[in-house]
Subunit: 331 residues, 2 copies
């Protein structure tokens, strides 16, 4: 870690962060000016950075374990979408003076849990104090065989559109955390929604199939509909997303059975950290077979059309769904 | 750039940051989820991250061009110290709502100037809003031939200690900016000190000789004395730094002629962003010759001793200098 300016920061690095890098090749126990990465031969690096700020990207008072977990997970989600295997990350933490060792221990515990789940290890970082809210900025690095990174811009007319996992859990979980009343849900369903909000789980098992079959991919972080529109625009294509086909968890299905108006929130709300991808029609069958063999849950939710057809979200009757949520309307 | 959450952030990326990445291979015009790096064969990557925060690492009201320049320069400084050639950087920016387009234009202009001077191009990033002060976190990536990164921990008994450039200009420049009176300095000298504070210039011309000759190196950011102590500790060595040998600019020499008490500030104050390195005694002569041929200014300021001798800073009479500055005392 570079340039800590007080004993306090040395102590934090020693106690909370150096243990996270203890087994990382090239991290030098966080005692050098920089970390080192030895890329495997024939590979390129995929690099992404995302910052989360207290009160903006997570609620003040959130469990610091969840904050640490989420900070790494949202970055690894981008690597998954590019077909890159996560490797290492750099951590830049700005801490308010009021942060105590309990909070820091929680943060580093959450990072450790995410490292273990997501196979991405601490390589280096920087710890500074701030008069503002806590900020955790992570730069994550993954590897792909040379030339195999999956772009956002590769979708072609005729491709099928797939998404991993289920959609809407996190957005509805956030409503719950913010105090929404969902009386028709069981305690298990309520717990599921909250957990999906607090602990995004990027589907690392999908990385190889993304690389093998996808023509374009991105992670779903700003809401499925908005992100689908972005993918189509980046690919200079049109697309149709079949709302009825969007995969829903048991909890969301139970909620919608009583309160169908939540559907729009589910498909526009964001924080899913699932992978949206397009697959050429002729590869759809082997792709699905391969996913099932690997236990990767994917669902076909639409197809890519000519650019001039625009982007549409339809119900089962083929008619456009009435969408006027600000999450996507200005795209 | 990932996940901008409003039109405002799209506009900022488009106007201020995408032009900085226009010629960067693998940046995809900042329109994908991640950037891509194709490492040259036979090379490793050196990666460092440093954040700067308004009111902490730069004065509120500073010229945004200088802020942008410094944010990249302090990272490239770490790469220089490792003998790594700068390549690309990721930029994570947290902006207060009050930031206007004039400030942003200044920031991106300063980044562009630093990119050009330091040969390090924008690859990707993240732009978010914050209720706190502005924060600019950069992760910079450089290349070294495999196995050639220069560690902080490689100094050996008998090595000579060298530093690039001149020391103390920035620390005294900060005092000036904060209102100190230095009546015996000419306008040119005053301007020089201020400039060294606002615009750190990591010595990129030294990279190849660092890699070729240095046994250990680090950048001088926390003050020469404190950083020398860190280098000795990391190398499990002792060391003697000859205070009289420390290279001073004309401005600092002129200041010290009238007010010698500023000397301690000069060698402990920090923000130099010069390179401190150790070179085996037998390589000292070819190292110096090579530096002179390349026009790299270096000065021998001490030598490495056995660990049991501890770390000393002496005057010309060989006696320890009276140092009690908090910049290093707790190491």
């Amino acid at each position: 870690m570079a340039r800590p300016s007080s004993d306090g920061e040395f102590g934090i690095i020693e106690r909370n962060f150096a243990p996270l890098a203890a087994n990382t090749a090239g991290a030098f126990d966080l005692k050098d000016d920089a970390g080192m990465i030895s890329p495997p031969e024939g590979h390129e690096l995929v690099v992404t950075t995302d910052a989360i700020i207290a009160g903006v990207h997570y609620l003040e008072g959130a469990d610091p374990r969840d904050i640490g977990y989420k900070a790494l997970a949202v970055n690894v989600s981008d690597l998954c979408a590019k077909g890159a295997n996560p490797s290492v990350y750099l951590l830049s933490v700005a801490l308010p003076e009021k942060v105590d060792s309990h909070w820091l221990d929680g943060l580093s515990t959450g990072l450790r849990e995410a490292q273990s789940d997501l196979s991405c290890m601490l390589l280096g970082g920087d710890t500074v104090h701030t008069p503002g809210p806590a900020m955790i900025s992570i730069t994550a690095v993954g590897f792909v065989p040379t030339g195999r990174m999956v772009p956002r811009s590769g979708a072609q007319f005729g491709d099928r559109v797939y998404v991993t996992g289920t959609i809407g859990d996190a957005a509805l979980g956030l409503l719950l955390v913010q105090g929404a009343d969902m009386p028709n849900l069981s305690p298990d369903h309520l717990a599921h929604l909250r957990k999906r909000y607090w602990r995004p789980q990027p589907p690392v098992t999908v990385i190889e199939v993304v690389r093998k079959y996808a023509s374009a991919a991105m992670d779903v972080s700003d809401g499925l509909v908005g992100d689908f529109i972005k993918l189509c625009h980046a690919s200079a294509a049109g697309g149709t997303l079949t709302g009825d086909a969007v995969p829903l968890s048991g909890a969301v299905a139970a909620l919608l059975a009583g309160e169908p108006e939540y559907f729009i929130k589910a498909i526009t709300g964001g924080d899913d950290y699932e992978i949206l991808m397009t697959v050429p029609a002729e590869a759809a069958k082997p792709f699905e077979t391969d996913c099932h063999a690997r236990g990767v849950g994917i669902t076909c939710i639409g197809h890519i059309t000519p650019r001039t057809d625009g982007v549409k979200v339809t119900g089962s009757d083929g008619r456009a769904l009435p969408l006027d949520h600000p999450g996507y309307e200005h795209f």
